[in-house]
Assembly symmetry: C2
């Protein structure tokens, strides 16, 4: 059962990109009497666009103005901008307010933001594991968080009621909510999100620099698998630069494991060890089955990218 | 304008999986008077399934029986099974027939198959760059090749008319057709298809072996990017084992370039070089734009995997 949507009455969203915009749209779709969504973005163009498409109820003139009087403040900035943003709003915060964020790295955000949170204000870092490869105020949509997981990383001294209200808030947007400590979050996300993006970016760079194959050929024959990587490699560059800098240790550790594994696979190819390759390729199917069963993916054969293939995993041709 | 579909009247498809099945369905959808599609698969279960769903007009009792009297023979076996299949049908081939294949590696197929092709039979290797992550006779669909590229790698002494007829054939299935030599094909596909699959398999193996993160957590939080990789890592293990063994040299060379690039990226993360990361991430967007403009991908934000997002790249919410 989804939680109640009226955990907070005045919600300030600082940063109106894909995630901030989707929160605004989700809130307003399910809105309750008295709900006011206040927005701010330090980028003039983003603020203008958000105003144009009516993303929020009130557009504030500054981050501080946005948070004054809000009962929930959500920081939706790139990871390394969180500290500066927290410092900027610090004086405008008042006891009883809940402050959270949506950054993809939690240890770094906790370290940057916590020093600027006045006593009596509840800061609970968070991360909705949801997104698309698009960015900016026009990229948001109300359903982004449905059936996705939001991870909260409450410090040890977190107020129970504030945590319960924030959990309700995310459930109201359709998300599932779980808690873990910030360091474990950063290790988990290094493999489920950060390294996948890094190797996607790396593959695109490799293709760009190959001497024997032209960029035109890469584009033309990308349907063989390459295009799937360009999708996530077209995500917001600023956001991702910050993720890799802010989660350096976990990313380097997981990347080390990836390279070790690659060394084994490379040797198997060089030595013609078909059994090792087959076993490894076969095992990969199990994890995918788990992901589909967990409702985090559809079984539809998307690789063909054909409009006649339905979301339910069946070819429409078979049912027509 | 698509080519005519009656380049051949009796087409033998040897191997009734995703590609062979899709050819059969595509041919029969656009079929002309007198067209007969004959099928065979060495796997009893695949043959039974293909028979059940009526994939072909005639199911042959052997590969040799299938090719007798056909004017086009298409080898749709895993790459390293091509030589054995060609040897098996060799005695049943007769002058004037065109033989092609759909293997993902062309140098190896040419070397394996050519010795078994009798004089007067036209062997032209080919590769439709299309597919999904699914396999087997039920995975095929008639539209798989539409707007995708088929690469033909005709040897120097190829008969012009045979090449023209095979080109017409693929165009009749909706494919675009281009020619190049086998070695160049294998290098191009190593970056656009083989290495993407290899690193997807490798990422899934890395996740499997990580000590600090459970498989359950990987599955739960896969929406951050990881799930995109499991999609292509769930492709047919036998087919892919064969690709890496048969295209060893090009794969190892491209993999070397990938690892070099990864070393640079890893150092940038270790040294905190945000400018290098940002520039590289930003460049990746250009290639994606090229792929979308070339009609090889849709701009729809698929990463969100939401049924309310249309294929035209617009959120349906905006138009409703």
């Amino acid at each position: 059962m989804p939680g109640k949507t009226n955990a907070f009455d005045r919600v300030a969203i600082l940063g109106l990109g894909l995630i901030g915009g989707s929160i605004a749209l989700g809130l307003r779709r399910k809105g309750h009497a008295g709900l006011v969504v206040v927005g701010y973005d330090s980028d003039d163009a983003a603020r203008a666009t958000a105003g144009e498409i009516g993303l929020v109820d009130e557009m504030a003139a500054s981050a501080s103005a946005a948070v004054a009087g809000a009962d929930l403040v959500i920081l939706c900035a790139p990871v390394r901008a969180m500290g500066g943003l927290a410092e900027e709003i610090s004086a405008a915060l008042s006891p009883g307010q809940v402050v959270t964020d949506v950054g993809s790295v939690k240890g770094s955000v906790l370290a940057q933001v916590a020093p600027h949170i006045p006593g009596g204000v509840h800061f609970i870092p968070g991360h909705p594991v949801a997104g698309t490869e698009q960015s900016g105020p026009r990229a948001g949509f109300a359903e982004l968080f449905e059936d996705r997981w939001t991870i909260l990383t409450p410090p040890g001294d977190t107020d129970d009621e504030a945590l319960a209200r924030l959990t309700d808030f995310w459930q109201g947007l359709g998300s599932r909510v779980t808690c873990m400590d910030a360091d474990h979050h950063d290790m988990v996300l290094s493999i489920t999100s950060h390294i996948p993006h890094l190797i996607a970016y790396n593959l695109v760079a490799t293709a760009h620099d190959l001497e024997q194959v032209s960029e035109k050929e890469v584009i033309k024959f990308s349907a063989g698998g390459f295009r799937d990587f360009t999708r996530i490699a077209s995500s917001d560059p600023t956001m991702w630069r910050d993720v890799f800098l802010a989660n350096r240790d976990a990313v380097l550790e997981t990347l080390g494991a990836f390279i070790e594994e690659m060394t084994i696979l490379r040797r198997a190819i060089r030595q013609g060890d078909g059994d090792l390759l087959f076993d490894l390729f076969n095992r990969a199917r199990d994890i995918r089955r788990g992901i589909i069963e967990a409702g985090q993916e559809s079984a539809a054969p998307d690789f063909g990218r054909h409009p006649e293939l339905g979301e339910d995993g069946e070819n429409k041709k078979e049912s027509s």
